[in-house]
Amino acid sequence: MMRFVKSTLGLAVATATLAFGAGEAFAQQKELVFGLQCDRTGPTATVGVYLCPGYHDYIDLVNSKGGVEGYKIKVIEVDNEYKVPPAMEAHERFKKDGAVVEGLYGTPQTAALNKKLEEDKIAGTSPGFGTANAADGKRFPYTFPIAASYWSQAGAAIEFAKEKLGGSLKGKKIAYLFYDNPAGKEPLPILEDLAKSEGFELRTFAVPAPGLEMGAQILDITGRFKPDFVVTHLFGKAPSVSIKELKGKGYPLSKVIAFVWGGSEADIIAAGGMGVAEGYNTIQFAGVGKDFPVLKEIAAMYKAAGKAAPKEMDSTVYYNRGVFIAAVHVEAVRNAIKAKGGGVPTPEEVKKGMESIKGLTLDGLVPPMELTAADHEGGGWCQVWSVKGGKLVKSKDWFQGFRAVIQKQLAADASKS
């Protein structure tokens, strides 16, 4: 039997070689390759189908204006279906095709690629994915969260609550409703730390996967604990359920703030529509809405080509995040090309370029972040957008919540390992 075992393996490999050989792309001169992992069909497809078009559209816009410093950009997208082995395959494909920078997708996928990125010296961005301690550029030199980590979001949520509750949290009660997975538990040390220093009472309520059943937890929050503020950190369909349940129990949504994966238009509409969720607050790491020049340029680009603007643009929360990621990649490459005097940058130089991003704002779509070799999070900037009169309205501009506490936690985590 062994012979057939081996002979078929060989056959399969031979076919693969042929197929891949044919599909291999030869990078032309003055072209740079970006790799983008995406999830359009897996459990987080609700995010991917809006976020990834945003990325592509921004790159198309850059290309239509002559590229970045004269280089056209080619994006290779691989749908990893939120599975880990395909993420590794995707990374190897990007590497083979000469990608200078890579967009990661998914928390376990980011964890699995941390080490490989470092060994291959290709920078990968993981906004909203991966772990908070990856902000430490010394420990994870090639992983770039580039957006506020869950620790920073926890700081921002408490700061927002403090402001809403009249400037002091002494003696107040805050409930933390979270998805019972590592990402959900990650902010706990920050919240506990803040509970001590700010003097509020913190109680946590875990929602088990898949997060569609939280009647008991909500009843516990609204009926027994009666908090002054609720912080939610949920994924997938869970945010919609939480809005519906809290509303159903009569809790004011203006005293609820959601982390970044609980605040898209789709989440709120699925909970019964924008009109129902009046007051609901969401943390954002990229600008929301269509009122940005770059988005108008994208729409104009489509119009010039005789096409209607894509419907994905209407889901501004995720679409704008795609634009944001693309803008960071382009800026990193621009810095690298400039530093090299126009030469073709290597992935390592793009990584250095990313570490010198500063003052990239896209008129407010991108936070005023500053990436450095030590801080790959860029400062942990957040905005709060709230539902008012049927749409999302900015209620707090870019801010860093309790930055000192987060930095203390980062230092403590670094000394542990």
Binding site: L9, G23, K95, K96, P182
Partner: protein, 355 residues
């Protein structure tokens, strides 16, 4: 030397069970050994090697599941969780005690085997769908435990980073280096399984699968063999988990959730239950098909769609075609790819004089 027999001429059990029934088998082995050890690593790009590496790991895990489901007839939905047991055992031993991979690997397997026996206990009383639900509970309990016990998971993030495997002071980290590392374990798993199934244990497994009451009557201790099947299967799963851990450099239980158990079940059902060759076919099929479909759709799709549409079309079509192909293959040959291959082989065995 290169001839094949034109029919069935075996007259002894020994001849029937030989691993190399004909000289051609030995020669094929030699050729394949040279191909995999010398030619492929030299010829293939690192990218293709990385796909082979994923297939090698999948083969180890799928073989374990096939021993349990295909050979012994006990269904399990907890295979992914057993992988995570192996992964965390190895990661903890490697990080806290600094043990090398040749100790953490069997340790991960053994720990997983122990847990597997526990989860397999219900198999002594229930069968079929009931057992599927019992093992599903095992999967969820193990996931929950790892998530909530920091001593196992290494903290809130439930992931433990480990160093690359070293052998005689030589760090294995590039895809080519890991290729040999993983090839060794895939071949080892294949050889062990082939021989296990020719032994008394393997025959007892098959007897339990075909009719457990009959097996008990002819003197097979079915409790012992059912639990042994769970132990061996989980051992493979644990080793598979350890290999994933060394391959990715991190143990993270989110890599081993229920969907992984389902994926591995798909591999052995598509490949062929109760067959080593089928397992390998299945592992290749499930790993490679999405990649091949993407390559084909990328080149063909650009003729019909704009770039922005194409990404959605590729993802959606790939999923639909993948599902449709599974259905087609199982309608054409319910016993899997292995049976398909055997049919082709027996056709050509007597070709062109089939009568």
């Amino acid at each position: 030397m290169f001839h094949r027999e034109a029919g069935v001429f075996k007259t002894t059990y020994a001849a029937d069970m030989a691993l190399y029934p004909l000289p051609i088998a030995k020669w094929t082995m030699v050729v394949l050994a040279i191909l995999f050890v010398v030619v492929l690593p030299l010829v293939l790009h690192e990218y293709q090697l990385s796909i082979l590496n994923l297939i090698f790991i999948a083969i180890v895990g799928a073989l374990g599941l096939n021993i349990l489901v295909g050979y012994t007839g006990q269904i399990s939905l907890g295979h992914g969780a057993f992988m995570s047991v192996g992964a965390y055992t190895a990661a903890n031993l490697a990080v806290h005690l600094g043990l090398p991979f040749w100790l953490t690997l069997p340790a991960g397997g053994l720990m997983s085997a122990a847990i597997g026996v526990l989860v397999g206990m219900p198999s002594l009383r229930i069968k079929g769908l009931y057992l599927a639900i019992a093992t599903l509970a095992g999967q969820l309990i193990i996931e929950w435990t790892i998530n909530h016990v920091p001593a196992i998971s290494g903290g809130a993030q439930a992931s433990i980073q480990i160093d690359r495997p070293t052998l005689f002071g030589y760090v294995l980290k590039s895809q080519a280096q890991l290729y040999f590392f993983l090839l060794f374990f895939a071949v080892l798993a294949i050889v062990v399984t082939l021989n296990l199934m020719r032994s008394r244990i393997g025959r007892a497994f098959v007897a339990v699968r075909d009719q457990d009451i009959a097996a008990e009557i002819i003197g097979i201790d079915i409790y012992r063999y059912k639990l042994l099947a769970f132990a061996i299967s989980s051992f493979y799963a644990g080793v598979c988990g350890v290999l994933y851990t060394y391959y990715f450099g991190i143990a993270n239980y989110e890599q081993f959730q229920l969907i992984v158990s389902i994926d591995y079940l798909a591999m052995i059902i598509i490949g062929g239950l109760g067959s080593v060759l089928g397992t390998i076919f299945g592992a290749i099929f499930v790993t490679m098909l999405p990649i091949l479909l993407r390559v084909v759709l990328e080149s063909a799709g650009s003729l019909f769609f704009s770039d922005s549409e194409l990404a959605n079309v590729i993802s959606g079509t790939r999923l639909a075609v993948f599902g449709a192909l599974i259905i087609v293959f199982l309608i054409v040959e319910p016993e899997g790819l292995n049976r398909l291959w055997r049919n082709i082989r027996s056709y050509f065995r007597v070709w062109p004089f089939s009568y």
